[in-house]
């Protein structure tokens, strides 16, 4: 019961969805599944959100390190729930649109979320630099190839690239760095991408089969029958 029922559910649902693609009266079942999934995800959030509260309340009550920050997190969470679920601070009433201009919910989104998210995203500028500094070293043949390809593309995007190879005659224009950069993007880069993608396709097929057939079942609890 504890193990075989879940295995049977996985098998039946998986097999049915595979075959539904080929059977027109069933072709929308995949979309229905995503609906089910979205609904399940809401219920699951009670576990997730509850867990978040629990973690921070525990931190708070046991006065663990950095506990004052937990107050901020909990307050933020509750504030957003109040503004969103009960539409507090919304110029319209409960039926007004959540994202109405001037509502507390939308204001918080615009003035807190946007700067936070885009700055976190923008940190990539620094990490790209430190990763290039550390990783692009000609340690072995593979690393050298990686380095050279990245170097050509980088050069091709600065005025330096045009200057360095500007002397190459027009009939060999492919050897000018900006053109070479475009050629690398369109040929070897494409080939590598394709090999990776075909491999991924096969990997998914094989793993899905292992899951559907119940060969892979680490996610289902152990042998507690």
């Amino acid at each position: 019961m504890k193990r075989n029922v879940p295995l049977a559910i996985t098998f039946i649902v998986g097999a049915v969805l595979i075959f539904s693609v080929f059977i027109p009266p069933m072709e929308n079942w995949g979309e229905d599944f995503t609906l089910f999934f979205d609904i399940i995800a809401v219920f699951a959030f009670f576990l997730g959100g509850g867990n978040l509260l629990r973690v921070h309340l525990t931190k708070l009550s046991r006065r663990k390190q950095d506990w004052p920050y937990s107050i901020v997190t909990i307050m933020g969470f509750l504030l957003m729930l109040a503004a969103g679920l009960f539409r507090i601070g919304n110029p319209g009433d409960i039926n007004a649109s959540l994202t109405e201009q001037g509502s507390l919910f939308q204001t918080i989104y615009d003035s807190v979320f946007v700067p936070l998210g885009s700055t976190m995203y923008a940190l990539l500028a620094f990490f790209v630099a430190s990763a290039s500094y550390r990783a692009f070293r000609a340690k072995n043949r593979e690393a050298t190839i990686l380095l050279v390809a990245a170097f050509i593309i980088l050069l091709g995007r600065t005025p330096l690239g045009t200057i360095v190879t500007g002397w190459v005659p027009e009939s060999f224009s492919i050897l000018q760095i900006p053109n070479l950069a475009i050629w690398i993007m369109n040929s070897p880069n494409l080939a590598g991408q394709r090999a990776i993608m075909i491999g991924i396709g096969l990997g998914v097929v094989s793993m899905s089969l292992r899951l559907i057939l119940g060969i892979e079942r680490t996610y289902l609890g152990g042998d507690d029958k």
């Binding site: 969805l17 693609v21 809401v42 969103g84 936070l116 500028a125 593309i153 492919i174 991924i200």
Partner: protein, 211 residues
């Protein structure tokens, strides 16, 4: 109010940037604000978009949606230790459905389409003459075909990379490395412009040092 919003945005922006120096109180405060507010934001969105918008509004019209709700409720049984194991049912439903759904999707988009796109002639009169156009196109197609081929050889699991097979696999990993190097170099510019955007906010919108 306008001043406050500007200073708040600047405070949060600098708080995140300060993490580059090291973990510190300013960052911790910013991080806690971000986590609390965003978790709340997502709960609200999930509730209104998914539960209300997809289930509550349509439930009388499409009664089969109750299946989703029941599975969701079973998920909550985790909170009752004695019958918590029932929550594996919705879990196995999701695992089965995800596997089944993606098996065919990946099959068509990752295998069939990519193979079709690789069926290229190695030579064509349309390529034009001269080194710049003709040769580049011929070499380009040759590289795409041999690159895809040898890349696949690299991924072979059940054959040892030895002899001619090993050399092809080696070529395959080189092609893959070119791919990685190229995509890395290619994204640097857009990553830099992301931070230029933040600097522009700080120096222009906030402090008015530049226009």
């Amino acid at each position: 109010m306008e001043h406050f919003a500007l200073w708040l945005a600047a405070f949060l922006t600098l708080g995140i940037i300060s993490f580059l120096y090291k973990d510190n109180a300013w960052y911790k405060l910013t991080e806690s604000i971000f986590i609390g507010l965003s978790a709340g934001y997502w709960m609200v969105s999930l509730f209104w978009d998914n539960f209300y918008g997809k289930f509550w509004v349509n439930k009388s019209e499409s009664p089969y949606l109750y299946v989703g709700a029941v599975l969701g409720l079973l998920m909550l049984l985790r909170l009752v230790p004695r019958i918590g194991w029932i929550s594996r049912w919705p879990l196995s439903f999701i695992v089965g459905a995800t596997s089944g759904l993606w098996l065919i999707n990946y099959f068509s988009s990752n295998i069939m389409k990519q193979i079709e796109a690789t069926i290229l002639p190695l030579f064509s009169a349309q390529f034009g003459s001269g080194f710049d156009a003709g040769a580049a196109a011929i070499i380009g197609n040759l590289v795409i075909v041999t690159g895809t081929f040898s890349g696949l050889v690299y991924f072979f699991f059940s054959k040892e990379h030895k002899g001619a097979f090993g050399r092809t696999a080696k070529l395959g990993i080189w092609i893959i490395m070119i791919t990685f190097g190229a995509s890395f170099g290619y994204t640097v510019m857009s990553r830099m412009s992301l931070f230029i955007g933040r600097i522009d906010f700080l120096l222009s919108d906030w402090l008015g040092m530049i226009l």
